[in-house]
Symmetry: C2
């Protein structure tokens, strides 16, 4: 095991409500001797992976990480195009939007565009959600073949339930979530893929459940659909299904 794995483990400490760490916290969370934790943090600091906050002993990710996040967003034409579409939609409707990627059974937002409405869903980039519980995740799972999904969820309770849900997503061309992930929050999502790089992203708008009448919902689906269709055509995404908005509730 290389020191890199320990360094990565330290970096993983920063997920989910832990914006800074100390030697002692690393000692506790990774089960390392404090001498090792101390030297590890120092080495990471000297390498620029960490920095101390002000003059304190608390460490946060190095400034370099801001550049890396930016590089990630520019690493793929798919993410860039999707960001443009979602940014425009977020601005038009005033609701918060995301561009997300799937990784295993989880989805992560890679770009966020906070809405302008007084009542809006606050951005939460980097937050990981179970793919099967979010509209975004379901659109991305729907882009996989059924047997791939079955393999991914092999041995889990969701395995059997997922196929019909994904079939519906494929038929509609979009997915919807109604307070599935967060109480009071609905979402609509559409996925599009780049056959050249074998990547897929999901374009998503989230909004307060109580605030959006059916016709606005349809308009949002239309806006995302139009943008996604443009991307699909430009990149040659043969699997893209032009969404058919419906007023009925799709669980």
């Amino acid at each position: 095991m290389s020191i890199l794995d320990n360094a990565a483990a330290v970096l993983r400490c920063f997920g989910a409500g832990c914006p800074s760490v100390t030697v002692t916290e690393v000692t506790a969370r990774l089960g390392l001797p404090k001498a090792s934790a101390s030297r590890l943090l120092r080495a990471m600091r000297e390498a620029g992976m960490l920095e101390t906050i002000g003059g304190t002993k608390r460490h946060r990710p190095g400034r370099m990480m801001l550049d890396l996040a930016a590089a990630f967003r520019h690493s793929s034409r798919l993410i860039e195009r999707a960001s443009v579409v979602v940014a425009a939609a977020a601005r038009t409707f005033g609701h918060t939007g995301y561009v997300s990627l799937r990784e295993g059974r989880e989805v992560t937002a890679v770009a966020d565009f906070e809405g302008s409405n007084a009542l809006r869903v606050v951005s939460n980039i980097g937050r990981r959600l179970p793919a099967h519980l979010s509209a975004t995740g379901r659109t991305l799972l729907a882009r996989m073949a059924d047997h791939e999904v079955a393999m991914l969820y092999h041995g889990t309770r969701e395995a059997a339930l997922l196929a019909p849900i994904l079939a519906q997503v494929r038929a509609h061309g979009y997915a919807e979530s109604q307070q599935d992930t967060t109480p009071g929050v609905d979402a609509i999502a559409i996925a599009v893929a780049d056959p050249a790089s074998d990547e897929a992203v999901s374009l998503c708008l989230v909004y307060p459940h109580t605030l959006v009448p059916p016709q606005e919902r349809a308009a949002m689906i239309g806006a995302l659909a139009k943008g996604a269709a443009g991307i699909a055509e430009a990149l040659g995404d043969a699997g893209f299904v032009l969404p058919q908005p419906s007023i009925e509730v799709v669980s």
Copy 2:
């Protein structure tokens, strides 16, 4: 020298228009034997610091880096409060805003809020600027004692020129740049510090030179000043100077 330094060097490759790397590119840029580059990329991949793009041999930063950037932004109450103020100002005036930190003689934007005006300055997070050439940087240098600034710039041409400029910034409570950094782009900036963590951030609005009449400029200074003053009071920043907007040009 630890493998961490080489790993960090690989990560630094991603700055500035290089969103992905290969084994050969690392070999060339770091001057490593290709055996080492190959193993280094593999180790970083297995640790989650890198990931391959689609099925190719190109590597980009790992998804983890998105969380790290988010953790950075939440690592300090100063940055969080400053972000709220700048986000509100960016929304009110339609101009792009930044929250920036100084590191040595450079400043980096750590949060950006793109404006809504048709003619707006595009966000450029992670971009590093010389501190003495940007409004943002000058407000942060102005928060240092003169002898500290002198030490920081010891042996450079700027050393002598900086003191009177910073004295003026201290007197006004804000700094301004008129096309100093980017042609056609003006900026106003105000710094505020957290005495508890010894950090300082700069709140900044950037806008097209031709678009903003004096009274709007004064209103923007007022909005940033009000927000910054609130932060200064909440955190106990004794060094904060309430800005005195003036219509005259401050170079």
